[in-house]
Amino acid sequence: MPQFEKLTMAQALNRALRDAMADDPSVVMFGEDVGPLGGVFRITDGLTAELGEDRCFDTPLAESGIVGMAVGMAMNGMRPVVEMQFDAFAYPAFEQIVSHVAKMRNRTRGRVTLPMVIRVPYAGGIGGVEHHCDSSESYYAHTPGLHVVAPSTAADAYTLLRAAIASPDPVVFLEPKKLYWSKEEVELDADRPGIGTAAVRREGTDATLIAYGPSVPVALEAAEVAAQEGRSLQVVDLRSIVPFDDATVCDAVRSTGRAVVVAEATGFASVSSEIVARVTERCFHSLAAPIRRVVGFDIPFPPPKLEHFQLPGVDRVLDAVDDLQWEDS
């Protein structure tokens, strides 16, 4: 019987870790402040007390060390889950991620595999300082060998984190910080469609909004407003950036003939530009208008008082939809 509970995304992530660690003694969780404190966002709350400090532990403050040690533990039979405290704090680990995490399976022709998860609280919308708000997905998505996922709901946070921990390949797990505390009725189910599948969050016939992570609620809200104005917008949540679900995305776009991509990350050379390229290559003859993007400007992340200019909002999404060359306008 499915169990429904009212949970925040933070609680759902905590439950996913707890359940995965209870199911499999080789799953270990470590990083900065993830022990007795439970992480600065409390995602690992209670794990050390419950499972012991061999299973969930604090490390010295060095991200390359954290990821590099996880590589070795994964080489030796463990399934490490590590937390990078903030998006921009993961950059010291970049060499380990790009040169080893992503390449070890290929280097050894599948003889050494790295079942590990790099959890990254990411993106803005929380009034954070300069290095606490990056949308860094493009760096990881550009690196072959990594899976990159970003949940937008508490239920998906649970399902996708369980799938990431069970995956035989390394997963960069991007957690939209601004959605940590949004509460919803959640069915904790590890067996729903996992990594590599997108979901249609709202049916619609006039145009398709394509979003992921923190931008999905923005797209849903825009669709709600558009409906009141008589326009039916479909919303696709990627869930998984790599592997990319071309089939679901393209089926959706072909069904409406118009699309807007919504993402927080800066637009140049980004996941959003990749989506436009892919969809255009595959759906050109179904498109009634060029695909539009509502994405971050190509600037460093702004200070808190200016961040609302950078984040995609409902009005910008609706303006972009208005620009999709409607015959009646």
Partner: protein
């Protein structure tokens, strides 16, 4: 809280058990290893030297793309492998081909990397030898992870993590020492200080009293050893492995040696060092040094020497055969190992290449 750092300090001078003529040093800090251990090491030294020279020749014949030789460093290579138990792990650098072979890996499989057929040619789990790669010091953290996982499971594994003098400037070297110390991970960090990082001499790398002193900042005991003295290396590395296995935490060992040849065949060492500097190290050669000691103590005679040389020649012959085979790598492999299950995009791309190959008639 501060702790007395004296116990972390290395010896004033590198530990030496026999001088460069092969004469045992009086009052040495360690006992001379048993004759069998020295003979085992000598056989591996002779083979290691032969492998280095053969690989160098294979580059000139165009069979290997490049070879970073450990000529002159064979004592470090052999001792690093010999002090380990079966369940232990070795983390070699790209210059540590001979160490991987001394641990049991087929030299032809090690050299697949430099032949260009694939990035790594051996199964790391077979002999517990991690894959080689060219980034510096990154493997030291992997070594800490392997050791920590073993320690969590209560296994007696020790990990030998190798790097060079240049790598001690990389951040991962410092993070690895610190992580290993904090988690008391059973890792022996083994720095082969061969005086050069490609062209840059040690003086441009560090002004620390020695590289072994770098352990102090992390609470890791350091020791220095003559890197061309096989007996001293067996003793010092053996002691470090014993201490790590006994739960005393990580150990740092710096071997003073010298890279007799250029960084690789693609490098020109005459641009940054003088011939007389190199010549001074010839008389400190690790192979002739141990040979002199063994002969002087009647542990080695002409017959046995000839047998060791013949064994080494057999290895070299197998390298020539194995590395002369023209393998045509399968382009399907480009896509087969990126993920456990190829993404739909990789399936498409693999089909594209397969189609190209089919149209070109298989080439």
């Amino acid at each position: 809280m501060t702790r007395d750092p004296d116990h972390l300090l290395p010896s004033d001078r590198p530990v030496t058990l026999m001088d460069h003529r092969g004469v045992a040093v009086e009052g040495a800090a360690h006992a001379m290893p048993a004759p069998e251990a020295l003979l085992t090491a000598f056989a591996a030294l002779v083979t290691g030297r032969r492998i280095n020279d053969q690989a160098y020749a294979l580059v000139r014949q165009g069979r290997l793309a490049v070879y970073p030789s450990s000529h002159g460093q064979e004592a470090c290579q052999v001792a690093a492998a010999q002090v380990l138990a079966d369940g232990d792990w070795l983390f070699p650098t790209y210059r540590d081909t001979v160490a991987a072979v001394a641990r049991g890996v087929d030299p032809v499989e090690v050299l697949v990397l430099l032949k260009g057929d694939w990035h790594s040619g051996y199964d790391p789990s077979e002999h517990h030898v991690a894959p080689q790669a060219t980034p510096l010091a990154t493997q030291l953290l992997h070594a800490v992870g392997v050791a920590h996982a073993a320690r969590l499971r209560g296994e007696p594994t020790v990990v030998m993590a190798m790097c060079g003098d240049g790598a001690t400037s990389e951040g991962d070297f410092h993070e690895a020492l610190n992580f290993a110390a904090v988690f008391r991970a059973p890792v022996v960090f083994f720095v082969q200080n061969n005086e050069y990082a490609i062209s840059v001499p040690l003086a441009r790398q560090s002004v620390a009293p020695s590289l072994a002193h770098k352990g102090i900042g992390y609470g890791v005991p350091g020791e220095r050893v003559d890197g061309n003295d096989t007996a001293a290396l067996l003793a010092v590395l053996g002691t470090a492995v014993d201490r790590a296995r006994a739960g005393e935490g990580p150990q740092l060992v710096e071997a003073h040696t010298y890279r007799m040849q250029a960084h690789t065949n693609a490098d020109d060492a005459t641009r940054y060092r003088q011939d007389d500097e190199v010549a001074a190290w010839v008389e400190r050669d690790p192979v002739t040094r141990l040979e002199a000691y063994l002969c002087e103590h009647d542990l080695l005679d002409d017959e046995r020497l000839a047998a060791f040389a013949a064994d080494a020649e057999e290895v070299a012959a197998a390298m020539r055969v194995g590395l002369s085979e023209d393998v045509t790598p399968d382009p399907a492999d480009l896509f087969a190992h990126v993920y456990a299950v190829p993404t739909p995009q990789l399936v498409e791309q693999a089909a594209l290449v397969a189609d190209e190959v089919a149209r070109e008639g298989g080439h």
